[in-house]
Subunit: 193 residues, 2 copies
DNA sequence: TGTATCATGTAAGATGTTACATGATTGC
DNA sequence: GCAATCATGTAACATCTTACATGATACA
């Protein structure tokens, strides 16, 4: 159900059509949730049926139609309830740690090259998140700007700080993973006595 | 495909039947991968068809039959290839960070209680992993004992250290998450000027 | 007139979840 | 005899992935 809540969270900022949402959820600088286009459209229709969002059909030109969805009172209530509830953690399922668990079965060189790629990838992610965090602190992302329009000015700093802090969390995790991988490299290279 | 590799990794230690594997993958002290019983059995049959594992039917008592699966040469090769290859990271999909991203929409008290539950849960996980890590370092887990029987004694320390280090990684991530949640609590409580 | 972008759709298959179902064996 | 454990199965459903398909509009 998380995709639905992710969509509700985005639509709370402003109404959007499937195409915009698709670009958002497929965006290169990774966000906290991702989904392919083929999942977005059916989910939107489902959510409309459930009364969580409302679609407004528009025509561009003569024949190109798009449906702009906005969050309903019901959707807002559902989102708030979900946000205020503790959910059971997802089952452990980390393909990379799984891989690392059996590194003793392959040559250290091969394991090392996998680890190095992992470090590069985590650092890349951290860099993207760092940029996004900065942009949020500067209140300079398209979505945050829209969102703040419906909020009292006195809260803007707090809201930006809270959102930015989520990406600080992503950065912290990516950094911890990269650091762990560097330690792994040292462990692998240790000469066996 | 990761479940298949997880199963291969476990079966490399020793042959097991579906029931044993189920207990392993549903075990309370979380491992790096989990799967329900309903997924294990069909996957095992699939893997046997693919020649990655080999099932040996046994009879306990008069009628209770079980199929003990062991890894084949083919399965071992597949596992080694997978272990030595870098895989594209899974798409970002973190329900908790998603939730935290919208904490500005609910009362700070409610957000705080969600955060506190999260901290407790991450610390619980870290504790379980810490215990498992210690057990691995002491070469005192059932599976590791089996596994080491087929390895030269001179490598035992290194293998145990490598496996234990994976759980050090899990602990580091859980700790980073808990620490991040504690910072969030402070941010939430900050008085708005 | 052609290319990039806008805009929406579906279909097949893999993976994961929840729940139910059946019977054998061990040990008290 | 009864409960806990051993042992395997399936069915329905939700979720996610990969791929294909179609047409409109903007703009150079």
């Amino acid at each position: 159900m998380s995709l639905q809540h992710a969509l509700l969270g985005v639509l709370e900022a402003r109404p959007m059509n499937g195409y915009e949402l698709t670009r958002f959820f497929e965006a290169a600088p990774r966000w906290v949730w991702s989904a392919p286009q083929s999942q977005i459209y059916p989910t939107l229709r489902q959510m409309e049926q459930a009364g969580l969002i409302e679609g407004q059909k528009e025509i561009r030109g003569t024949r190109l139609s798009r449906t702009v969805y906005s969050i309903t009172e019901r959707g807002l209530a559902e989102l708030r309830t979900w946000l205020g509830t503790s959910h059971t953690p997802p089952p452990a399922r980390d393909a990379f740690f799984l891989q690392a668990l059996f590194f003793d079965m392959i040559e250290p060189d091969r394991a090392a090259s996998v680890l190095k790629a992992f470090i590069a990838e985590q650092e890349q992610l951290a860099a993207e998140w760092r940029a996004h965090r900065e942009a949020l602190l500067a209140k300079d992302t398209p979505l945050l700007k829209e969102r703040l329009k419906n909020r009292p000015a006195g809260e803007h700093d707090r809201i930006a700080a809270l959102k930015a802090h989520v990406f600080a969390g992503q950065i912290a995790v990516a950094t911890a993973r990269a650091e762990w991988a560097r330690e792994s490299l040292r462990l692998l290279e240790e000469p066996t006595p």
